[in-house]
């Protein structure tokens, strides 16, 4: 490796290490494969029914979707701050940022429930048509993941209050953070795919 600059060296060194536990990465891979297959199924089915998909896509609330995107990205950002705080052993900042990330997740759920209640109130279900089948399946599957992510964040928060994480050991925190970023990433694919792309 060339000794060009200390910054690139540092970057190279940090990419060598997989943050978090290998076990969580197996889980993340499995989840992403499931979503990837689901997304592809959506794309192929849409290709066969473009007009129908476009028509019903207009009934979705893009503003709420965009708000949720902001909430999740912000949530991810707080979790990044929490991990960074752990590496410099700033115990207070770890807990605070996890809590803020958790609240962003809660905001997402609240917005999603508003969106769902409008749809379900109008009598829409997975059996209404193929578009709504995908819309509800994908968003609900993701919704459940946000809940799971929040459960993980809650555990991390309790652990961080006990001072478990720090520069000596951030394995648990990094693993939970990796999962939370996955939840975010999935939404960033899902939102344009189902709500926006025409």
């Amino acid at each position: 490796m060339s000794e060009s600059s200390p910054i690139t060296n540092q970057a190279a060194a940090s990419t060598k290490r997989l943050p978090g536990d290998l076990a969580i990465w197996f889980f993340i891979m499995a989840e992403m494969v499931a979503f990837a297959v689901f997304f592809s199924a959506y794309a192929f089915t849409r290709a066969g029914h473009v007009e129908m998909f476009n028509l019903y896509q207009q009934t979705l609330d893009r503003n709420l979707g965009a708000l949720n995107t902001v909430l999740l990205i912000t949530g991810s950002w707080f979790i990044v701050l929490a991990v960074q705080a752990a590496h410099r052993d700033d115990q207070k900042a770890i807990s605070r940022n996890i809590l803020l990330g958790f609240l962003c997740g809660g905001g997402f759920l609240a917005v999603k429930i508003i969106e769902y209640s409008a749809k379900f109130g109008a009598g829409i279900s997975m059996s209404t048509n193929t578009f709504y089948m995908f819309y509800i399946s994908l968003t609900f599957f993701h919704f459940m993941h946000v809940i799971l992510g929040m459960v993980i964040l809650a555990v991390l928060w309790f652990q961080s209050r006990k001072g478990v994480y720090g520069s000596h050991d951030a394995n648990g925190l990094e693993s939970g953070a990796a999962y939370w970023h996955m939840v975010d990433l999935l939404w960033i694919v899902l939102f344009p795919l189902v709500y926006v792309m025409r």
Binding site: K16, L18, D21, A23, I24, F141, M144, N171, G172
Partner: protein, 142 residues
């Protein structure tokens, strides 16, 4: 810490993942239950249909036939047999099975059903045929 892979993390993910997917399965099952009344024609389940289902079971019909594709694969699909033979055809077929079978051929036992029982069986098979099973089987041959 590089390349951590711990048993406790693997264990927690096993428990968490299992609970998560089981809850998801329960949620989907819950939705299924709210949708079924539109598909399973439960309003048409008369005492005669119930009697027919019982006869279907206690004579182990599923041990040779399939019903909506499930069962043994030794004898024809019966979910749509009414379409192939009609009410009277089904009854006549069951009634006319020779006691000792047909030499060299797959044979159905002679069950000695009464006319009332035959009517119940037909009522059950008609009910199954009326269930919305996503257009299965692909054709009338089952």
């Amino acid at each position: 810490m590089s390349g951590a892979f711990t048993k406790s993390m693997a264990r927690n993910i096993f428990y968490g993942g299992t609970v998560f997917f089981f809850l998801l399965f329960l949620a989907l099952s819950f939705d299924t239950h709210s949708q079924l009344p539109k598909r399973d024609m439960r309003q048409n389940i008369t005492p005669q249909v119930i009697e027919g289902k019982k006869l279907w079971e206690v004579n182990n019909c599923i041990g040779c036939h399939t019903l909506m594709g499930e069962g043994a694969y030794f004898a024809p699909e019966l979910g749509n047999v009414i379409v192939r033979y009609g009410d009277e055809g089904v009854k006549a077929f069951i009634k006319s099975r020779p006691k000792d079978g047909i030499p060299g051929r797959r044979s159905m036992p002679q069950f000695n059903f009464t006319d009332e029982q035959l009517n119940a069986i037909v009522a059950f098979l008609k009910h199954v045929n009326s269930i919305n099973d996503a257009n299965w089987p692909p054709n009338d041959q089952g």
